[in-house]
Symmetry: C2
Subunit: 223 residues, 2 copies
């Protein structure tokens, strides 16, 4: 893994709450982004926020996003800052008092002004990164985008410079009095995502095997 500069807080990424949960190791950001299935992309339209889930991919210091040229959130992403949030829930934290219930999680929040890619080679590279993130080992296996598809697709590059990572792990943090009182179960209920065996498409002709790149994901816990 390439050694990268630690995450330096900006006005927007400096944690104001639960600072001890902050992470500044750039490798933690990369690992979380690479393991996630989708992000939540926030934009501002007419002064109000819009948050929608979408796929993405990372290459080095760049997060790639894509969408239809006609999508409202894509047009908004070209007109101003965006916020990309990638979250993994690791467990539900059961405490001895109502206000100490919590979640264990890994969370990345990225701010920035995305760049619209126009260079055909860069655009194709970005789409490859997104497809390979979503479905590793697939790009070389399938038909590449044709000119019509490329023309209908907006490809955005977002620099990962302004990002924060927040992590909560471990059991509940209860008040001493509640622990001393006793008698109330407390702990963590772990949560994780699993892949189930692949389901071939109904229109798939007989005799086409499921690729190893797909089979290899089954029974592998997404971390």
């Amino acid at each position: 893994m390439t050694e990268r500069a630690p995450l330096a807080p900006t006005r927007r990424t400096r944690l104001t709450r639960s600072r001890e949960r902050g992470r500044t190791d750039r490798a933690e950001l990369d690992a979380l982004l690479d393991a996630g299935a989708l992000c939540h992309l926030g934009v501002v339209i007419d002064g109000a926020p819009l948050v929608v889930p979408t796929v993405y991919g990372r290459d080095g210091d760049t997060l790639y996003l894509h969408g239809s040229t006609g999508a409202g959130n894509m047009r908004a992403a070209l007109a101003g800052d965006v916020c990309v949030s990638v979250t993994r829930v690791d467990g539900i934290v059961y405490a001895r008092s109502a206000m100490h219930f919590s979640m264990n999680f890994h969370s990345a929040v990225i701010h920035g002004r995305p760049e619209r890619l126009t260079d055909p080679g860069q655009r194709l590279h970005a789409l490859r990164v997104i497809v390979e993130h979503t479905a590793p080992g697939s790009w070389e296996r399938v038909r590449p985008p044709n000119p019509k598809e490329m023309a209908a697709t907006l490809v955005l590059a977002l620099d990962l410079t302004e990002a924060s990572v927040k992590v909560r792990t471990g059991g509940p943090v209860d008040d001493a009095d509640d622990i001393a009182a006793g008698g109330v179960w407390a702990g963590v209920l772990p949560l994780r995502q699993v892949f189930d065996p692949p389901v071939s498409s109904a229109d798939l002709e007989p005799g086409v095997p499921v690729p190893d790149s797909v089979l290899g994901r089954v029974a592998v816990t997404t971390v």
Copy 2:
């Protein structure tokens, strides 16, 4: 389940892309919200979006959120519209061409101006709804919030009137030419969240059993 009016599209919730994936059955919104572990809350700060994960709870036509009175996104949520996004990824859709890769998902997007709850009874009710959503069966089992905790907590109520639900299910939708060409595997790799066995807190005294409300969630697929 209470019969509710269907979701009526507004300027913000009318789908402009993939309209066939839209759902107007209010019960679908409720089911998705009730099954989700957390939402992504979007606000606008200094003209830029901020999207962070947070827990929530639903009661009838109201979504409840809470946070520290000192949290920046909570203060922003009091000053303007918010957008709450709840997403469940159901599978990765492998297509025969790069641009037809997709995700199967259930997605709810809610817009509105949240109301800050000030009535002590309403606030306590909202917190109960949030805790019971995060950890069903827990509220009566644990110590309720004390005055100090209540004073440090902002409780928001968001009306579910302006919401949209989008669902993608099924296999890839490939071009006829790519299907005819043959030889490329296509299908869906299902993805789901599972609970693993609970881990009791290290500071839990011996002899306190894991509640049935916790044990009952293990091996139950979150839908």
